[in-house]
């Protein structure tokens, strides 16, 4: 190892050594470079986190070879990065491109920076939580699925994301509103900077194209100045993601793409009929962010259907198949997964099994044949699926836009 680069969430001085101010950290004039250099004995460079993200996208990601790049990272707040003709633009004093602190709404929501109405108070993880709490306070009945998903914990950004993925219209509405704020802000930035591409990254962006970028593109095209008479910047999802170490970098709904592959997370979990702490089970599942969960010892006695459905909802997932008829084997998945077929069986000789053929439609590979055999049986809501209400039906196989990455997941419980 020859040198170390550190990205810090704050204003970094022109000397690339000191973090002048960090709105979300306890750093004021923090000599970060010298402190680290002393400890590790290697040359250290400090860069603003969003500038580093913009540079990574320009060098290796979605903005490769683009002349003017604006990178927006959505997390607790909004980070901004700006690359012009292959150079990171930092401003005269090193603290430029803080797009998140442009005033969008005069006298609007209070921001951690001390001002009011900053853009990041309307488009970030903080904004998701703000909206969710506002709805929960004003209209508790409408927010019941959000509250259930929170399972006794904080009503925060990840809860909204989980509920939106499980199809809750209120949570989807929060995302749509946030996507529109994002698009309106980007249209203002386009008026000032005229970039060739906007790259959207950060933890919140992992909600995906449909929840976030589509409403953003819509609002952008409706508010861009001179629309129709000028080329409009492309809006793309960031490509450079944290490394996939035990999955902490990957989240459901945004299937990890490495070259020509799809990486999915499958969880196997014996939940002991939810006899211990059912809410803790849901939190464990949600925090692990799996794409598919094979549950053993799912609820199988009184009110097993609603208990299984509740477990799915609290985990931010949907029921694929199984339950009592499969001797308490249950499959759950995110909505990013298409269910092609389901089957379950149990007899005196086996402990039961349930079998779901699923595929990942977000991976486009038109024309590639499926490496898997034909579906086991067609999905019959009345009989084939244990829970027709939450069954995710697959569209026709002939649709060329859908993809073929598919797999089967079987849950069995052995003695």
């Amino acid at each position: 190892m020859a040198a170390v680069g550190i990205r810090a969430a704050g204003w970094v001085g022109t000397d690339r050594a000191t973090v002048l101010f960090a709105p979300h950290l306890a750093w004021r004039n923090e000599p970060l470079r010298d402190a680290l250099q002393e400890r590790i004995g290697l040359p250290v460079t400090v860069e603003n986190d969003a500038n580093a993200a913009a540079w990574a996208e320009y060098r290796f990601g979605a903005a490769r070879d683009e002349p003017v790049v604006v990178c927006i990272t959505l997390g607790t707040g909004i980070g901004g990065g700006f690359v012009i003709d292959g150079e990171v633009y930092r401003g005269a004093y090193g603290v430029g491109a803080e797009f998140g602190h442009m005033t969008m709404v005069p006298a609007g929501r209070r921001c951690a920076c001390g001002n009011s109405g900053c853009w990041e108070m309307y488009a970030s993880g903080t904004a998701l939580a703000y909206d969710a709490r506002e709805i929960a306070a004003a209209a508790p009945a409408a927010a019941h699925r959000l509250v259930e998903t929170a399972a006794g914990g904080e009503l925060d950004g990840p809860v909204v994301t989980a509920a939106a993925r499980a199809g809750d219209p209120i949570a989807i509405g929060i995302y749509t509103a946030m996507g529109r704020w994002l698009g309106i802000g980007m249209a203002s930035l386009a008026a000032a900077l005229d970039p060739s591409i906007f790259v959207v990254g950060g933890g919140v962006s992992e909600a995906g194209e449909r929840l976030l970028l589509e409403p953003a593109r819509q609002a952008f095209s409706e508010t861009l100045t001179g629309r129709g008479y000028r080329p409009a910047a492309r809006i793309a999802m960031a490509d450079v993601r944290p490394a996939c170490r035990a999955g902490r970098g990957c989240r459901p709904g945004s299937v990890c793409r490495r070259g020509q592959t799809v990486i999915i997370r499958v969880m196997s979990y014996n939940v002991r009929s939810l006899r211990d702490d059912a809410r803790a089970v849901a939190r464990v599942i949600r925090n692990a962010a799996p794409d598919v969960v094979s549950v053993q010892e799912a609820p199988r006695f009184l009110r097993w259907r609603s208990k299984c459905a509740e477990l799915a909802r609290r985990s931010g997932l949907v029921v694929v198949c199984g339950g009592r008829p499969a001797a308490a084997n249950l499959l759950l998945s995110t909505l990013a997964v298409d269910v092609r077929a389901t089957r379950r069986s149990s007899s005196a000789r086996t402990r039961g099994c349930t079998n779901g053929a699923v595929r990942w439609p977000s991976w486009p590979s038109p024309g590639a044949p499926s490496p898997w055999p034909a579906p086991i049986s067609t999905c019959r809501p009345s009989r084939g699926c244990a829970m027709s209400a939450s069954c995710v039906r697959t569209p026709k196989d002939s649709d060329p836009q859908r993809s073929r990455s598919s797999s089967r997941v079987t849950s069995t419980r052995a003695r």
Partner: protein, 63 residues
């Protein structure tokens, strides 16, 4: 293929959840798929949620 035996991190014991001594939860993965990681999770929630710990396996789907 036993996913955890191939690429697992740590001991892999999953039962009982408080102080696991036995590896009785597993995942078998078929040949066209590549196992990237396998991990038995632990957290304060895991210990109160069930008598088993969950196993999370990351699988790379072949094109």
């Amino acid at each position: 293929m036993d996913a955890f035996a191939a690429v697992g991190i740590g001991g892999g014991n999953s039962f009982p959840s408080g102080n696991p001594t036995r590896r009785i939860d597993g995942m078998f993965v078929a040949a066209p798929l590549k196992v990237i990681s396998a991990e038995v999770l632990d957290s304060p929630d895991v210990r109160i949620a069930s008598d088993h710990r969950p196993l999370v396996v990351e699988v790379e789907l072949a094109e």
